[in-house]
C-alpha cells in the first residue's frame, strides 16, 4: 500500500487541535491515570502513558470516528499523557502523608482541595518553565527522547508502510509476551547472573529482564554508551576498591550488597552530580537558551509565533507569575502557623526548584528516557522542610505544608518531562508546538482531581501503606521525610557530588555529567540491560548500516517499548478488576 492510497480530503484543513482530540484525550487520559495510578500504589513505579494513548487514540479516532490525522492523534496522546502526569507526581508524594500519620498523628488531615490546587499550580509552572527550552533541547541539541521516538513511530505507523508497521507489531508482540512470561511465570524481573557465576554481590552483575529497556537503549544510539559509565564506575571499579582499601564502615556497606551501596553511597552522590551537571550545563548552554528566548520574544513583539506556531512568551511569563502566586497561596494556607515570609520563601524555593528540576529531568529523559523524579522531589521536600522549620512552624504542620508544596513540585517535574517527550514526538510528526502546548495546559487540571479522588477511595477501602496497598514510593518518601525532620540528610554528599557534576559539565564532553550522575543514581541492573540495547544499535549501524537501523531496527525497538508498556497497563487494569472484586 502506498502512502497516499485512501486519500480523500486533499484540500480540507488538516485537523490538529480539535475538541474531538481533546475530549478523547480526556477520556483516555482518565482511564490511563486511574489504571497507572493504582498500579503504582502496588508496584512502586509509574508508567509513561503516551504510547498507550497513541494506540488507543488510533483505534478511537481512526477506527471508531473515521478521522485520519496523525497530528490530531498526537494532540490526543499529548492531552491523555498530561492527565496522567498528575499520577506520576502525586502517587510518589501524597501517600506519604497517610503513611506518616502513624508516626505524626494528624498529618492525614491535610486539605485535599488545597492539595489539588497545589498540583494544578505545579503542573502549570512545570509546563510554562519548560516550553522555552524546547528549542534548545529539541531543535538545537537534538536530544534523542527515546520515548518520544517510540510514540512518533506509533503515530506515523498508518502511513509508514506495511513493512514498518509489521515490524512495530512484531516487536510489540514479542515484548508483550516476554513481559507476561517474566511477570506471570518467572515472578522476578532481575536475572542474578553474577550469583550464578559466583561473582561477589557488590559487582552487581544482574540484568533487568525488560525488552523495553533494550528498546530504549537501541533508540538512544551510541550516545547512550556513556550512560553505562557511571554504573560501571560504581560497581566494577569503586566497589572493589572500597572493599579493599575503604574504611571498615565502608567495607561493611560494600559487603551488605548493591542495595546498601546504592542507598548509602552512590544514590546521594548521583543526585549531587545530576544537580551540579545540570546547573553547569545550563550555564554552558546559556547562549542557546538566550537565542531561544530571544526568538520567542521577537515573535511576541511582532505579534506572530516564532515560526508561526509557538506559544507566546508573554503567555508563559503570565503562567509563571500565576503559578508563583498560586504557590504562595498554597503555602500560606498549608499551615495555621504559617508566616508570610515563610510562605514567600517556600514559593520562591518551589518555583526555582521546579525550573532547575524540570531542566534536569527533561535532559535525563532526552538522553536516556529515565527520569530522576524521586530524587528531585526528595531534594525539594528537604529544602521545604528546612524553610518551614526555620520559620518555627510545628513539626506536624511542617510535614503537611512541605509535602503539599512538594507534591506541586513533583507534578510540575512530571509535567515538564512529559511536555518535552510530547514535543519530541510532535517534532517528528510535524505537529505545531503551540497546539501541543495548549493541549497540555488544557489537561493539567483533570489529573489532580482524579488522583486525589482515587487516593481517598483506595485509602478508605484498603488503607494506604497496608499489605494490600503498600504504596512503596510513598513509603520511601515518608521514611525520608521522617529522616529530614530528624535532621538526617546527606547534604555533604549532595554538595560534593555537585562539585563533580559542575566539573563534568565544564569538560566539553557533551552531556557526560548527566549520564554519569544517572549511572550513580539508577539501579545497575537497568543500566546493564540498557547497555545491551545501545550495543546492539552500535553493532547494527556497523554491520548492517544506518539505513537498516532506521528502517528496520527503530520500528522493532519502538515496538519493544510499546508491547511492555501495554502489558504493564494491562496488569494494572487486571489489578483494578481483582481489587474491585475482593
Amino acid at each position: 500500500m502506498t502512502a497516499l492510497e485512501g486519500a480523500d480530503q486533499p484540500s480540507s484543513p488538516y485537523p490538529e487541535l480539535t475538541w474531538v482530540a481533546v475530549l478523547v484525550g480526556y477520556g483516555l487520559g482518565a482511564l490511563i491515570t486511574v489504571s497507572i495510578g493504582y498500579a503504582s500504589l502496588i508496584l512502586g513505579f509509574s508508567i509513561e502513558g503516551s504510547e498507550l494513548a497513541a494506540i488507543l487514540g488510533w483505534g478511537v479516532l481512526r477506527g471508531g470516528l473515521r478521522r485520519k490525522s496523525i497530528v490530531e492523534n498526537n494532540i490526543n496522546q499529548t492531552v491523555a499523557s498530561a492527565v496522567n502526569g498528575a499520577s506520576a507526581g502525586m502517587m510518589f508524594s501524597v501517600p506519604a502523608l497517610f503513611i506518616l500519620n502513624e508516626q505524626y498523628e494528624g498529618v492525614v488531615d491535610f486539605d485535599p482541595w488545597l492539595m489539588i490546587l497545589a498540583c494544578i499550580t505545579g503542573g502549570i509552572l512545570g509546563i510554562a518553565f519548560i516550553i522555552p527550552l524546547r528549542k534548545q533541547m529539541i531543535d538545537y541539541n537534538r536530544l534523542a527522547y527515546p520515548g518520544g521516538i517510540a510514540v512518533a513511530a506509533v503515530l506515523k505507523s498508518p502511513g509508514a508502510g506495511i513493512q514498518k508497521a509489521r515490524l512495530l507489531l512484531v516487536g510489540a508482540a514479542v515484548s508483550a509476551l516476554f513481559h507476561l512470561f517474566v511477570t506471570k511465570v518467572v515472578h522476578t524481573e532481575v536475572a542474578p547472573v553474577g550469583a550464578a557465576l559466583g561473582l561477589p554481590a557488590y559487582l552487581n552483575v544482574n540484568f533487568y529482564l525488560s525488552l523495553l529497556t533494550i528498546g530504549v537503549g537501541f533508540l538512544s544510539g551510541k550516545g547512550g554508551l556513556v550512560f553505562g559509565i557511571g554504573g560501571f564506575l560504581c560497581y566494577w571499579l569503586l566497589a572493589p576498591l572500597l572493599n579493599t582499601f575503604g574504611p571498615e564502615a565502608t567495607q561493611a556497606v560494600v559487603q551488605a550488597g548493591p542495595g546498601a551501596l546504592r542507598g548509602t553511597l552512590f544514590q546521594p552522590g548521583g543526585i549531587g552530580i545530576l544537580i551540579g551537571a545540570a546547573l553547569g550545563g545550563v550555564v554552558g548552554a546559556f547562549p542557546l537558551i538566550r537565542s531561544a528566548l530571544k526568538s520567542m520574544q521577537e515573535a511576541a513583539a511582532s505579534g506572530r509565533g516564532a515560526d508561526g506556531d509557538e506559544l507566546s512568551i508573554k503567555v508563559l511569563y503570565s503562567m509563571v507569575g500565576l503559578g508563583f502566586v498560586g504557590l504562595i497561596v498554597v503555602a500560606w494556607n498549608g499551615s495555621a502557623s504559617m508566616t508570610l515570609p515563610a510562605a514567600l520563601g517556600m514559593a520562591i524555593v518551589g518555583t526555582l526548584w521546579i525550573w532547575v528540576a524540570g531542566v534536569i529531568v527533561s535532559e535525563c529523559l532526552g538522553r536516556t528516557n529515565w527520569s530522576p523524579l524521586s530524587g528531585m522531589t526528595l531534594i525539594a521536600v528537604t529544602i521545604l522542610v528546612f524553610v518551614a522549620k526555620s520559620a518555627g512552624i510545628p513539626t506536624k504542620e511542617t510535614i503537611i505544608v512541605s509535602v503539599t508544596v512538594g507534591a506541586a513540585i513533583c507534578v510540575a517535574i512530571a509535567q515538564a518531562g512529559d511536555m518535552m517527550l510530547d514535543l519530541k514526538s510532535g517534532y517528528m510528526t510535524g505537529a505545531q508546538p503551540k497546539a501541543q502546548q495548549v493541549g497540555q495546559f488544557m489537561a493539567t487540571w483533570l489529573g489532580p482531581f482524579l488522583v486525589m479522588g482515587l487516593i481517598f477511595v483506595l485509602h478508605n477501602k484498603y488503607g494506604l501503606g497496608s499489605e494490600r496497598l503498600p504504596a512503596p514510593q510513598g513509603q520511601a518518601l515518608a521514611s525520608m521525610v521522617g529522616g529530614i525532620v530528624g535532621g538526617d540528610v546527606p547534604a555533604f554528599r549532595y554538595l560534593a557530588g555537585g562539585a563533580l557534576g559542575v566539573l563534568l559539565s565544564l569538560s566539553g564532553l557533551g552531556g557526560i555529567g548527566v549520564h554519569i550522575g544517572l549511572g550513580f543514581y539508577m539501579p545497575f541492573f537497568i543500566v546493564l540491560t540498557y547497555t545491551i540495547g545501545v550495543s546492539l544499535r552500535v553493532l547494527a549501524d556497523r554491520t548492517k548500516g544506518r539505513h537498516w537501523s532506521e528502517n528496520s531496527g527503530i520500528p522493532v525497538a519502538a515496538g519493544l517499548i510499546v508491547g511492555e508498556a501495554l502489558v504493564g497497563v494491562g496488569n494494572a487494569i487486571g489489578a483494578i478488576l481483582v481489587g474491585g472484586g475482593s
Binding site: 486533499p10 531543535d139 502511513g159 564502615a249 565502608t250 552522590g269 517534532y427
Partner: protein, 166 residues
C-alpha cells in the same frame, strides 16, 4: 596537550568519585578538593587545546559537509517529480537531512553557539515542516502536504543563507 588534559581530567575525576563515596557518614574534603583540582586542570588543558590547527582543519571539513548537505537537500526538493511526498521524503531527502545532522556540530566549533543556534533554528523549522508534509501526505491531505513542503524548502533556504553568511 589535549591528551594530557584528558588524562588529568580522567585521573582527577576517578579519584574524586572515590573520595565522594569513600566514607558513609562524611566526605573527606581534604582528599576530594585536590582531586577536583587535578580534574579542573585537565578541563583547562582540554579547553586550551580546543583551538589547535589540526582540530580547525577537521572542523572546516565538517562545515563544508554541512553546507553541501543543505545544497543537495534544497536541490532535491526543487527537483521533486510526481512521486508521492511521503515516499519522496523517505527515499530522496533523508540521506541529505542525515548528512547535515551528522556534520552540524562543526558549525558550533567553528563559529560558536550563537551562530549554531541561528542556523539550527531555521533548519529545525524546516525539518518539522517536512515532517508535517510527510504526515499530511500520508493522511491524504495533499494541499497541506504541498504547503508544508514549500514552507520546509523556504526554511532550508534560510538555514543555508545563515550558514553561508558566517
Amino acid at each position: 596537550m589535549k591528551l594530557v588534559g584528558l588524562v588529568l581530567f580522567g585521573v582527577g575525576m576517578l579519584a574524586g568519585a572515590y573520595f565522594l563515596v569513600e566514607v558513609p557518614d562524611l566526605v573527606r574534603w581534604e582528599a576530594l578538593g585536590p582531586s577536583l583540582g587535578v580534574a579542573g586542570l585537565g578541563v583547562l588543558a582540554m579547553r586550551l587545546a580546543g583551538g589547535e590547527s589540526e582540530a580547525a582543519e577537521v572542523t572546516q571539513q565538517g562545515l563544508q559537509r554541512a553546507k553541501d548537505a543543505l545544497v543537495q537537500l534544497r536541490r532535491q526538493m526543487r527537483a521533486r517529480s510526481e512521486e508521492a511526498i511521503p515516499d519522496y521524503i523517505d527515499r530522496a531527502l533523508m540521506p541529505s537531512l542525515d548528512a547535515f545532522v551528522e556534520a552540524r556540530e562543526s558549525i558550533q566549533r567553528a563559529h560558536g553557539l550563537d551562530a549554531y543556534a541561528a542556523v539550527m533554528d531555521r533548519f529545525a523549522q524546516g525539518e518539522r515542516a517536512l515532517n508535517r508534509s510527510w504526515a499530511a501526505g500520508a493522511d491524504g491531505y495533499s494541499h497541506e502536504s504541498e504547503r508544508s513542503f514549500a514552507v520546509a524548502l523556504g526554511r532550508f533556504d534560510d538555514a543555508s543563507q545563515a550558514l553561508d553568511s558566517l
